[in-house]
């Protein structure tokens, strides 16, 4: 394999980019280095924004052949592509032509199509969580019972009817939220942070290469 194709090059780039951020934070290297670090963050965001069409291309690779070959459910793919094109064209940042995020058609579609759809998609999860809980929350063991009781008490604490029936649900719910829940979340945060640090060190030293895989290798 040619030297420039070797995976060690992106690993070195990863390590250099990480050090550009880490060193000025933990050591005093002067204002010019700190300025460079801040500019670099902004610059790499421009590089990252270059990937903006990657997801769209992947989606279109799936849907355009479906429309062209009239495969089952091609009508929905047409709706998807049409909506994508309309949103993109009216949202293009060419203010001289009246296009962009302030364009009235773009604002209309954002307010009356995207916002209701995304809000409803999030809210519908309530039903699936409830049905999943109904199936999963069975008091088969002491652990499962604790899970069931804690969940029910928090529901009673947050739903107005719970505290209206007995104000004690509020006190118990607060205790559950502030003591066992906070302790669990804190332990998970500490464990996650340790894991993230280890993963970072492994990526910088080239032991972790999973993110570079693909392309048939």
């Amino acid at each position: 394999m040619a030297w420039y194709k070797r995976v060690e090059i992106p690993i070195i780039i990863t390590a250099i980019c990480a050090l550009i951020q880490i060193l000025p934070y933990y050591f005093t290297l002067g204002a010019s280095v700190e300025d460079f670090q801040a500019t670099f963050v902004n610059w790499q965001m421009v590089v990252g924004t270059g990937a903006t069409f990657v997801g769209a291309i992947a989606i279109l690779q799936l849907h355009i052949p479906r429309i062209m070959k009239r495969r089952p459910q091609w009508e929905y793919s047409t709706a998807l592509v049409a909506m994508f094109v309309i949103m993109l064209i009216f949202g293009l940042p060419i203010r001289e032509l009246g296009l962009g995020l302030d364009n009235s058609v773009f604002e209309f579609l954002y307010g009356n199509v995207l916002t209701p759809l995304s809000s409803t998609m999030y809210s519908i999860i309530a039903f699936f969580i409830a049905s999943a809980a109904y199936r999963a929350f069975r008091a088969r063991s002491l652990e499962a019972t604790i899970l069931l009781v804690a969940g029910s008490l928090l529901l009673l604490k947050n739903a107005p009817i719970g505290t209206a029936v007995w104000p004690g649900f509020g006190t118990i719910g607060d205790w559950l939220f502030n003591v066992p829940n906070m302790s669990t979340q804190r332990a998970i945060l500490i464990g996650g942070a340790l894991g993230a640090i280890v993963l970072g060190v492994r990526a910088m030293t080239g032991y972790e290469r999973g993110y570079l895989r693909g392309g048939g290798e």
Partner: protein, 243 residues
Amino acid sequence: MSDFTTYFGAFLGVLFTLAVYSFLYRENPWSRLAEHMFIGSAIGYGIAYDLDWMRSQWEGRWSLTSTGVTAFAFALLLGLLWYFRFSRKYFWLYRIPLAIITGTGLGLAFRTVVFAQLLTQVKATAGIQLVGVDAWTAFNNLLSAVMVVCVLLYFTFTVRQTHPVWKPINVFARYTMMAGFGAAYGYTILTRMSLYIGRCQFLLGVPPYAPENKTFFPWIALLILVTLIGYDLYVKSRASAKT
């Protein structure tokens, strides 16, 4: 806003809200249409937003100096390398912008994770207040610290947990986590329910939502219901005709 725009906007909002909820019955053409419209509009919005950000960056920062122009052009060039993801032969070029983004992300995470997630949490656990507070608060503070330590020990896999002292620690950690997850679940479900209540208020035109929604709600609900029943009968008749 003109009357037509207001009414048409309310019509679309109610239609897509009910189309998504129709999925609760079963997957159907309305829910599929809503899903596809959501994906299409979300991608279009995301790209438009990114391009707008790029233009504002160019105008407000990079176009001001010649070094900035060169750096911006170089960034755009590197940004184009993302598209070699779709090429098997030149896939190695895709790894360059990926390495830049991953490396910078790692570096930034090293700055925030160490302090916000690790040191602050360890400090909060270790610095428990037992004096100068009432007995109940002191008990809760102590209990909280013990719970954090036990849960952390539960996930210590580098030591073989064969000594009898591990058993009560692990049992207590499991009970703590179950109570914690139960509480988190209860909190999450109520958050989702409040979102659902928000959508109901939208359909009923409760302020600040447009009052026109209330006009369309029963008619569109009826339309979706009738077409759902019709679609079901059509699918069943086709299935029985095949057999």
